[in-house]
Amino acid sequence: MGSRTIKVVFLEELKVDGAPQLRWGIKKTLIMFPDDLDMDVAAEKIFTDGLTEAGIAREQITRVVATGAGRKQVKFAHENITEVGAGARGALFMCPSARTVIDVGAEEGRGVKATPEGKVVDFAGNEKCAAGAGAFAESMSRALQLSLKEFGEASLRSNKTIPMNAQCTVFAESEVVSLIHANTPKEDIAKAVLDAVASRVTAMARRVGIEEDVVLIGGMVHNAGFVQSLKAALGVEKVLLPDLPEYVGALGAALIAAEANA
């Protein structure tokens, strides 16, 4: 139950024993924008839609675990867990070699240190401020009239480094407008913005210690420019990108549900 989108993941048991990657299979995933729906109604809707599309009867579901900002609104969940724990669990399922999980969602950015099993050792995030979150990049791409994807691609075409003075998203928007007025190429502005987000997130990750491999989860996975900026800011050769990045949190919650049952 994210601040912008909600997702559901259904898992099925493939084998009785073994590594989680072999034991559990992803049966069905679904994502939706709750728009005007109340969170509890939206949760019910995505759950029933998912069941119908996957051809599963509701009685076949043995356990439901909810996560994310709106997790308490999932009335039919047996349990709810924090998005930090769920994100790490899901990320390590997808990329077992990762030890540091960078999570950049719509309204938060954080660095998480995880065990090989996907348990959280430590994490540092910023819940008070949009700097270092996807919302920052989103505001700026709006100012440049580019989609987030185009924004990331534009950034890849730039090799300039323009430092952003403003940390605050609201002020950065005026700074971007000034850069536009000064005829700065869109590519260079896009890179400046993504560099700024990457450097904020890196500062958070440093607080828990950066241990390779690093995996990036959250909506910014789709932004190739951001991935590039993040690599440079972290000073690492590679950043792992999981399959189904939006579903990592829901997947983590599903795994925790599955294991509680077993």
Partner: protein, 306 residues
């Protein structure tokens, strides 16, 4: 409806709620031609620009305009608005002091002085020599200033990193609520029960929180009240760090928003000194007063830079 009509209604709906009124004022009872020294202060801020003209150390006229995307033009625009009103030209002004973010970009100024010093000096004139603590709530920053009886700065703290507690943050809320910015304050009191502050500090998050509250059935007024309260709590935490000493004075655009001012006063249990002047001119007024002191000491500069 024709396409043109549809476009017209659409553009009409795109009202800019954040836009505040520009203003110009001249003291008709005085004549600048009688003054020995005419000095001006130009405060080019991040959101608004003010020009103040002072005749022999007395406030004569001012303008408060929006800052454009270029500081020199904004400075010219502000001073021209006052000069046109009283038939003055730049030749008639003996000394010009620039202040604010764009102070080094005032092409016709003789000197640049920081806005902190200027605000204290201006507040000392507007609120009297008993003022010891000044809260300047500007477009993109917020400052708490301590000064002595002559308006000299003794200490200050500022937040210029975050839009929470600044005029820009208020503009964002005006746009979001679709309420003209000048009505936000009065409407924030039109609630049955005073709500608690919105929990988000960040303006970006406060925006999504506000939308959530509207969805949960809160009235617009109640959301605005919760936001004004959050803003007041935010600046009071800044004030508490510097310790508030009586008398207390508020300058800057948000001083015009009773929704925030009353709530700050409630939290501090202290009333701010009222003024008959426009709270936004404090910086430019202080600059013009510094100009008057300087011109008395140094005489009129040989050539006014243009």
């Amino acid at each position: 409806m024709t396409v043109a009509q549809i476009q017209a209604t659409q553009s009409g709906e795109k009202k800019e709620y954040w836009r505040w009124e520009e203003s110009t004022w001249v003291d008709e009872a005085k004549n600048w031609r009688d003054a020995k020294f005419v000095t001006a202060g130009i405060d080019v801020g991040s959101v608004s620009s003010q020009a103040v003209v002072v005749c022999d150390g007395e406030l004569y006229g001012y303008s408060s305009m929006r800052t454009g995307n270029n500081s020199p033009d904004s400075a010219h625009n502000a001073i021209n608005a006052v000069m046109q009103k009283c038939g003055m030209t730049l030749e008639n002004i003996h000394f010009v002091v620039g202040t604010g973010y764009g102070r080094v970009n005032v092409p016709f100024s003789n000197k640049a002085i920081t806005e902190i010093a200027c605000h204290a000096r201006g507040a000392n004139y507007m609120g009297g020599s008993s003022i010891r603590t000044i809260l300047d709530m500007g477009g993109q920053d917020c400052k708490a200033i301590h000064c002595d009886e002559r308006g000299k700065v003794t200490n200050f703290l500022m937040n210029d990193k975050c839009a929470a507690g600044t005029g820009r943050g208020m503009e964002v809320i005006a746009d979001l609520m679709q309420i003209p910015i000048a009505e936000l304050g009065p409407r924030s009191f039109d609630v049955d029960v005073e709500p608690a502050a919105v929990s988000s500090v960040c303006v970006v998050f406060a925006k999504s929180e506000a939308l959530g509250l509207l969805k949960a059935g809160w009235s617009k007024n109640k959301v605005v009240a919760a936001y004004c309260q959050a803003m007041a709590e935010r600046v009071v935490s800044l004030l508490e760090r510097i310790a508030v000493e009586k008398d207390f004075f508020i300058t800057g655009g948000i001083a015009k928003n009773p929704g925030v001012v009353k709530r700050i006063e409630r939290l501090l249990k202290l009333d701010a000194v009222a003024t008959k002047y426009d709270s936004q001119i404090a910086g430019a007024l202080g600059a013009a007063l510094f100009g008057y002191t300087l011109v008395q000491k140094q005489g009129v500069p040989a050539k006014v830079a243009s």
